[in-house]
């Protein structure tokens, strides 16, 4: 989902940076105020670091990486994810040529805002409707992963509208390419995230409303 250097006009890059800024500022303030939960944050950051480095083979000769935002969203809440995403995206922009510096704001918005908040809202909604914790986390993780790529598709569509179909046409075109690759990866990520959340909660170091009972089963 990383938009590389030069693929967004400077005005768009600046607008997405401005859009990310309040989320980022809030996330950094939450990080500073969450010293008691520093190991949870470290686990979330490590998970995000690892999963975004794994380019998994997918269908039709393509590959993509999981987003890794679901664990941090469930353990530490979606508010801190922009700050964690910024660290990962900066590392990747500088060392792996994945993403870019001027597109950092747009990428933070997709990975740190759109994905985590979609995951969190779906997780909470699914739990409220009695879906069960495991299916709720699986569904939220998979849809959150796809939402990250949908956000990137929208960012690219706004910058490069289709000559005939406009922004909507371009969005569908980009989202179609991403979804073919990302759907299997999102399913794998959701299963893996369930296992990791379960392991962490079972280890006893975490108290998340509604999850302790699930981990004991």
């Amino acid at each position: 989902m990383h938009i590389s250097e030069g693929f967004l006009p400077l005005t768009h890059a600046a607008a997405w940076t401005l859009a990310s800024a309040p989320f980022l500022a809030h996330g950094i303030s939450k990080l500073n105020g969450a010293r008691d939960n520093r190991y949870l944050l470290a686990a979330s950051a490590g998970y995000l670091f690892t999963l975004t480095a794994l380019k998994l083979p997918s269908v039709a000769g393509s590959s993509s990486h999981p987003t890794g935002v679901a664990l941090g969203t469930v353990l530490a809440g979606p508010a801190v994810m922009p700050a964690l995403s910024l660290i990962v995206l900066l590392f990747q922009a500088l060392l792996t040529a994945h993403g870019g510096l001027t597109t950092l704001g747009a990428n933070v918005f997709a990975l740190g805002v759109a994905g985590p908040w979609t995951t969190w809202l779906l997780w909470r909604l699914a739990a409220r409707f009695g879906l069960g914790d495991r299916p709720a986390i699986a569904l939220a993780t998979a849809i959150g992963s796809l939402a990250t790529y949908a956000c990137t598709s929208l960012q690219l569509a706004l910058a490069h509208p289709d000559p005939s179909g406009g922004v909507a046409g371009a969005f569908l075109k980009f989202a179609a390419v991403f979804s073919v690759t990302q759907f299997p990866v999102a399913v794998i990520e959701s299963l893996f995230t369930i296992a990791v959340v379960r392991a962490i909660v079972n280890s006893g170091g975490v108290r998340i409303a509604g999850l302790e009972a699930w981990a004991q089963r």
Binding site: S4, G6, Y39
Partner: protein
């Protein structure tokens, strides 16, 4: 000592897997597929590391991630004992 060695081995294995996936799958990354549908970039990358360096960095990123996650998990478990 044994735990540290196991931790290092896990970090190395996952880092090597990430490096392998980044350098030798022969598959086209979804981002590259979409980038191919776009006009050429308006600005060159500020710094464009070589392919081997990128693959090595990806492997390093995965290994660092596993190390951070592992250490955090150990501390979480220790805190509850």
């Amino acid at each position: 000592m044994r735990n540290a060695l196991v931790c290092l081995a896990v970090c190395g294995a996952i880092g090597a897997t990430a490096w392998g996936l980044a350098s030798a799958t022969g598959r086209v990354d979804a981002d590259e597929r979409v980038a191919a549908m776009l006009p050429p970039p308006a600005r060159p990358a500020i710094w464009d590391p070589s392919e081997p360096f990128q693959a090595l960095s990806v492997g390093g990123q995965a290994a660092v991630g596993v190390a951070i996650f592992g250490l955090a998990w150990v501390r979480l478990r220790r805190r509850t004992k």
